[in-house]
């Protein structure tokens, strides 16, 4: 299904989380989470809504601070980083938001150029345009360059959102519910895109989802988050070939849907 | 978590209290102006402060030198006003200066005005009680204006009475302006004078004739001339006649002058008061003069009549009448 690339060291750990705690008031969403992501690996975090899946990747990207625990990304302890170091680290992380989070006031082209322009000094406009066209081509939406986000469909927005992160050529991709709110066909397109990105840009990724199809298609490793803890980690088959009723209820529920 | 929350609350309280203090300070200090200037407090007792309020300004020579600090009653009709005078100015103000209530415009704010003070008196010091001068307030100005108004009304009333009287012919001016008979009399006088002068002319012409005939010998006249006494008498008569005529002339000139001066006096407003001062006596005098003139001209007429009937001249007049008749006859015969 997936071809191994010679330039990737699959043993190297890019994200290493140990004993992570996070609570909002009396709501304890993460209670001692451990997770490792190797280079070139797509890890799918499965779980029901409100179980703190998004919180996990927000902590990884430095948007939220953990109450306790270690979050090591690309060899750097995220909670300890100052503003500038964090920004440097973030240039190597791509974050695809659940609702794409495209800038409404800008066209697709401007949306794509925005992070690149602000993070690269002395960038010629021709180079900028080339980069924009390249990522647009990669997500297959070259024709939308001058459109506003409001004119795009949900699937297109998602693609542009992914393209916007790709333009920075990140080492790690964080997908927050990539297939949420999309029809099955578009979902399949997005799943394929995620795999394509992994192949083409040699990224490691954490994919947050509750969609089993997505998990099955994109995940090299599945982690099941329940009650603030990973109850099961392993391949898709490993995770679901179990008698654990909690996991099965999730499985059944998803397929009935 | 608990500790950081506590810290947030503490800092929040600290900021809140700080802002509250700043706002309160600004609001209270803003109410009393020039709070930071050190001042000297003096007082003055007024009967009436005309609506002066705490915070109103104090002026000295038109310069603002402080504000009214407080106003309090110390008895009936006795208001104590505490004045905060800026310390910088006190050395220019002497302790025996006076205070009065004024305003910085006709409808402006009330102010306390300090004025006067002798240079030898010590400078103003805290606790001094200033003398009060109940000077001109706007109320006083209004009162004075009211009196002025009344006076004006009185004056115009009088003027109205005077002009009414003038119109109705009372007083000398009124009489002069209104008496028709006086005008008529004047007219008559001048008529009579004209008559008299024409008579005089005729007489003198006759006299000329007569004197010319005196040179001819054998005539009565020549005989008469030799009688020097009669001749002298005749001469004096003629001289007197001349005098009368010239006097009459003068009177007429005077009259003309008088009437013209009355005219100018009437048309001239400035002399109106002078004219008003003339009494009825002058009018009476004028009438007397005119009356006299009338009588004098009447007498002149009589004199001339008498001269015609004089026996010395009777013959001459008869001859003249005959000659005239002859001439008339001749004229008829022709």
């Amino acid at each position: 299904m997936k071809t191994a690339k010679p330039n990737i060291n699959y043993d190297e750990i890019v994200i290493d989380i140990k004993g992570l705690y996070k609570s909002f008031g009396s709501n304890h969403v993460l209670q001692g989470v451990d997770l490792q992501v190797h280079q070139g690996e797509n890890v799918v975090v499965l779980g029901r809504s409100g179980t703190g899946k998004s919180v996990l990747i927000k902590i990884i990207s430095g948007l939220l601070y953990p109450d306790q625990g270690k979050v090591n990304v690309l060899g750097q302890e995220v909670p300890d980083l100052d503003e500038y170091a964090l920004r440097d680290l973030r240039r190597q992380i791509g974050f695809s938001f659940q609702n794409s989070a495209l800038y409404d006031s800008m066209t697709v082209g401007e949306n794509l150029a925005f992070p690149l322009k602000r993070n690269t000094r002395h960038l010629s406009s021709s180079k900028l345009r080339k980069s924009v066209e390249a990522v647009l081509e990669a997500v297959g939406l070259s024709q939308t360059l001058h459109q506003l986000p409001s004119e795009l469909s949900g699937g297109q927005r998602k693609r542009i959102g992914i393209a916007r992160t790709l333009i920075m050529q990140p080492k790690i991709m964080l997908y927050d519910e990539p297939t949420a709110g999309l029809d099955p066909i578009t979902s399949t397109d997005i799943n394929n895109l995620i795999n394509e990105v992994q192949q083409r840009y040699s990224t490691s990724a954490i994919i947050i989802t509750h969609d089993l199809t997505c998990a099955k298609t994109t995940g090299d490793k599945i982690a099941m988050l329940l009650n603030g803890n990973f109850v099961k980690q392993g391949s898709f088959q490993d995770v679901f070939n179990t008698e654990d009723p909690v996991i099965h209820s999730f499985y059944d529920y998803n397929f009935i849907q | 978590m608990n500790a950081s929350n506590k810290r947030a609350v503490t800092v929040g309280i600290f900021i809140f209290v700080g802002i509250a203090i700043i706002i309160m300070a600004v609001l209270t200090l803003g109410g009393q102006r020039k709070t930071f200037v050190s001042s000297v407090q003096v007082s003055a007792l007024f009967k009436d402060i005309n609506g002066l309020q705490a915070g109103n300004n104090i002026w000295y020579s038109g310069v603002k030198i402080g504000t009214v600090k407080k106003i309090e009653f110390t008895g009936s009709e006795s208001v104590k006003v505490l004045l905060n005078v800026q310390e910088d100015y006190t050395k220019f103000i002497h302790s025996d200066c006076k205070a009065k209530i004024g305003s910085d415009g006709l409808i402006g704010n009330r102010i306390v005005v300090l004025f006067g003070g002798t240079p030898t008196a010590p400078a103003l010091a805290a606790g001094n009680v200033l003398n009060v001068d109940n000077g001109i307030s706007t109320d006083d100005i209004m009162n004075t204006l009211q009196t002025n108004n009344k006076n004006l009304v009185g004056i115009t009333d009088n003027l109205k009475v005077i002009s009414t009287k003038l119109a109705s012919g009372e007083g000398s001016i009124g009489k002069l302006l209104n008496d028709e008979s006086l005008y008529n009399a004047l007219e008559a006088v001048s008529q009579a004078l004209r008559q008299a002068s024409s008579n005089t002319q005729q007489i003198t012409a006759n006299l000329n004739n007569y004197t010319a005939q005196l040179q001819k010998k054998g005539t009565l006249a020549n005989d008469l001339v030799s009688d020097t006494v009669i001749f002298a008498q005749l001469r004096s008569t003629v001289r007197q006649l001349n005098q009368v005529a010239s006097t009459a002339n003068g009177v007429v000139t005077d009259l003309k002058g008088a009437s013209s001066s009355v005219n100018t006096a009437l048309s001239n407003d400035s002399s109106a008061v002078g004219v008003l001062l003339h009494d009825t006596a002058s009018a009476e005098n004028l009438r007397q003069i005119i009356y006299n003139l009338q009588t004098s001209t009447g007498k002149l007429d009589e004199d001339l009549e008498a001269a015609q009937h004089n026996f010395l001249l009777r013959g001459y007049f008869k001859k003249k009448a005959k000659a005239a008749k002859k001439a008339a006859d001749a004229a008829v015969k022709q």
């Binding site: 304890h28 938001f97 609702n99 495209l102 409404d104 993070n119 | 929350n5 947030a8 609350v9 102006r33």
Partner: protein, 264 residues
């Protein structure tokens, strides 16, 4: 740490009062952050100019109408009481003082609070709830600098300009009324009007406008920046931005007037 030994936080005073002071603390942090970021390079010049255009040009029509009507109506309503003294010739100076000292800054600020404050609150609020701000954050862009600093600076610069413009338009409105009633020429009107205006008056109004502009943008940004999830949060942010900034404008008006009185 386990869920079993978790105990509810002990409030310092009470939950609601605590929340009030925590909000003050957060506002303080927000303002401090602004002053830190504002002096940090690079300056987002393009976005600043774009915001100036948005805030200034877009409010111009509303400001023109409001300013003109304010001047006109104020003159109309002041006329009878001045006419009682036969002092309608004082109208230009009276109106100019009222407009320059009080009306122009206040009217401009209230209009801008309604138009600019709400739009900033709604814009940032919607960016917050659709995670656009987070998106900037994770693409290594400083969203505070890009969104908040530019908007606050632009509003602080533009509101004084709008204030001067409102004052001018208000005077024109006043002139129209005076001209129609007393047939005063425009030169005479403005001569009489500016006779009573000192530089302190204008400077004080400028200061007011600067403070109001800063307040409007700060409140709008704070509300939008801290908007809760959901579209309801956007509406609330816009609404609260207007209400709170108007409230602060009046508080500041009192304080600034008092402070200016020290110098008068």
């Amino acid at each position: 740490m386990d869920s079993t030994n978790w105990q509810p936080e002990k409030p310092v005073i009470s939950k609601k009062i605590d929340q009030f002071f925590i909000t003050i603390y957060q506002v303080f942090l927000f303002i401090r952050k602004f002053f830190r970021e504002v002096f940090r390079m690079p300056f987002e010049r393009g976005e600043f100019i774009r915001q100036c255009y948005q805030i200034g040009y877009r409010s111009l029509a509303l400001i023109t109408l409001t300013g003109f009507i304010t001047g006109l109506v104020f003159t109309k309503q002041s006329r009878p009481s001045l006419a009682e003294f036969g002092a309608t010739s004082w109208l230009p100076s009276l109106v100019s003082i009222a407009i320059i000292r009080a009306l122009a800054p206040l009217v401009t600020a209230l209009i801008c609070a309604g138009k600019v404050g709400s739009s900033i609150g709604a814009e940032l609020g919607s960016m917050r709830v659709t995670e656009q701000i987070d998106a900037m954050e994770v693409s290594a862009i400083n969203p505070f600098k890009f969104l908040v600093v530019t908007r606050v600076l632009a509003t602080t610069v533009v509101v004084p300009m709008l204030m001067a413009y409102t004052g001018f338009i208000g005077m024109l409105g006043s002139f129209l009324d005076v001209h129609l009633n007393e047939a005063t020429s425009i030169q005479t009107f403005f001569q009489a009007a500016f006779e009573k205006i000192s530089f302190l008056d204008f400077g004080a109004s400028m200061l007011k406008a600067i403070v109001y502009g800063f307040t409007i943008a700060m409140v709008g940004c704070y509300q939008g920046w801290n908007a809760n999830q959901g579209t309801q949060g956007v509406g609330k942010a816009a609404n609260v931005a207007v209400v709170v900034s108007m409230f602060f404008i009046f508080i500041e008006e009192i304080i600034i007037v008092q402070v200016i009185n020290f110098f008068r």
